[in-house]
């Protein structure tokens, strides 16, 4: 574990170059490219807002909860579905040259991290307009995002290495994320979940992260100790399992591509 971290450090310039390349390709080298990519979450928020406004009309700040939820969700959904292809999509870097292959996953998730940070920057003024103020606790956002990042990186390690062997994983994962979307409190408030289901419901990592984002960005309160411990726990487990699975499976990557 320590050796892989020090090896990755040696290759830090490559990690950054691959991340930059990923972003450039994603946004076609234009500044406007990023704003086009914002269109889809904003449109989704708008549509959902109009549909559900009447359903949850009594709920305060529905629009704002929705946007924070979608932002948090997108990092997870895009992060996992794009990092899934990190190995298979870079076959020449796997079969033709030696680099620590974790780099491919890491730089992919880093590119997503930057996208989602940009989305956060765009979200701030919207928050300010809709809320009328910005809670001080927003400053905790980077901390939560860092934990979330490690969780997604761990998940990415698992997904990308399994995808080499199971090429229908992307379709399976698409279905799973769709189910997860509705199992997370994005388009409805947490309060509609019946008590007897709550214990299980809160085991969904994405739920915990969404709760924490809403705490610090909207409610202006510190996230509960329970949430912090649980999310850090999720991230550690995802990272350890991911590293283990990845290092086992990567030995035959070059043969399977």
């Amino acid at each position: 574990m320590v050796t892989i971290v020090s090896k990755m450090w040696q290759y830090r310039e490559l990690i950054w170059n691959l991340t930059a390349t990923d972003l450039k390709n994603r946004y076609q080298n234009t500044a406007l490219g990023f704003f086009w990519s914002l269109l889809s979450p904003l449109l989704l928020a708008l549509v959902l807002y109009f549909i559900f406004r009447h359903l949850w009309g009594h709920e305060q700040d529905f629009a704002i909860n929705l946007m924070v939820g979608i932002m948090a969700w997108r990092f997870f959904a895009n992060g996992t579905s794009l990092s899934l292809r990190a190995i298979v999509g870079n076959s020449s870097l796997v079969t033709r040259v030696y680099i620590p292959r974790q780099i491919l996953v890491l730089s992919n998730v880093l590119a997503n991290l930057i996208s989602s940070l940009l989305e956060f920057v765009v979200l701030l003024p919207i928050l300010l307009i809709l809320l009328g103020y910005l809670p001080v606790t927003v400053l905790l956002y980077p901390l939560i995002h860092a934990i979330y990042f490690w969780f997604i990186y761990g998940a990415g390690l698992i997904m990308s290495s399994l995808f080499v062997y199971f090429r229908d994983l992307n379709q399976i994962w698409q279905v799973v994320t769709q189910v997860l979307f509705f199992c997370s409190p994005i388009i409805y408030p947490l309060s509609i979940i019946p008590d007897y289901l709550m214990a299980y419901y809160r085991l969904n990592p994405v739920t915990q992260f969404i709760i924490m984002y809403r705490d610090v960005m909207i409610a202006g309160k510190l996230p509960s100790l329970f949430s912090i411990v649980l999310t850090i726990g999720f991230s550690i487990v995802a990272y350890l399992v991911g590293s283990l699975v990845f290092s086992k499976l990567q030995r035959r990557f070059a043969e399977e591509m």
């Binding site: 170059n17 450039k24 020449s92 079969t95 033709r96 040259v97 680099i99 199971f166 229908d168």
Partner: protein, 245 residues
């Protein structure tokens, strides 16, 4: 001193009777109990050493295990048993221009490719002008790679690769680059590498190139070393073997 020590390497490939690439196929296979595969030994008990400053050629017919051996030395493939020790900085060129991005400019690609080969930004800054001069592409540095001809991008890749200053080079048929004039430049460069005491391992079907570059050569057949020694003699053995079959 040995630059490369290859100790008793074996590599086996699994060839499944029915290739399963999806979860669905694997579940079906599990139910029907179809997990049989054939084993194929691409390399068997390979041991040799390469001295520092030596150029070793590896020749053999298609499928004899040359490229597999080079890939194991380049750490792209893992051997099933045995070990490889490489001393000093290794640059492996199994293919030129790995990771080149058509949407990026020549300049960006030089930086990207150098970092893939393990070079830091500052070192590239220093070598950058030389790289572009050697490739004769200075005029096109801000052009996107997708508008390059294949010859241009290979020249760019080769120039970038030789400026990474490795101690050991692993080459797989990459010397046939560009036109006659550029090839001459490449050969001169390789001679300089040898004069500087760098270690070279060359896998090639081009026997003339092997004869020109390597003092020692290894002949592989069906994953085993047939002979290893003086290049002239090994090439004669190889030609005799081809005639015999």
């Amino acid at each position: 001193m040995s630059a490369i020590i290859v100790d008793n390497i074996s590599k086996k490939f699994r060839i499944p009777h029915e290739k399963k690439t999806t979860v669905f196929q694997n579940i079906v296979g599990l139910i029907k109990r179809q997990f049989s595969y054939e084993e194929f030994w691409a390399l068997k008990d390979i041991s040799f050493e390469v001295n520092k400053g030596e150029a070793l050629g590896i020749i053999g017919r298609n499928g004899s295990g040359k490229s597999t051996l080079l890939k194991i030395m380049a750490k792209v493939l893992y051997p099933d048993s045995g070990s490889v020790t490489m001393n000093g900085k290794v640059a492996s060129f199994l293919q030129l221009g790995v990771g080149f991005q058509p949407e990026l400019t020549a300049r960006e690609n030089v930086y990207l490719y150098s970092s893939i080969l393990g070079l830091g930004r500052k070192q590239v800054d220093k070598a950058y002008d030389d790289i572009l001069d050697f490739a004769e592409l200075k005029k096109f540095e801000n052009m996107k790679l997708k508008s390059f001809s294949s010859g241009m991008s290979v020249r760019l890749a080769f120039s970038t690769a030789i400026y990474t200053f490795p101690n050991t080079l692993l080459l797989d048929e990459v010397l046939a680059v560009g036109d006659e004039a550029f090839q001459k430049k490449c050969r001169d460069r390789m001679d300089r590498f040898k004069a500087e005491g760098k270690t070279i391992v060359l896998v090639s079907h081009n026997l003339i190139a092997v004869k020109e570059m390597c003092q020692r050569t290894m002949l592989l057949n069906e994953g085993r070393i047939v002979t290893m020694g003086d290049t002239e003699k090994v090439i004669d053995d190889y030609l005799a073997m081809l005639k015999g079959k």
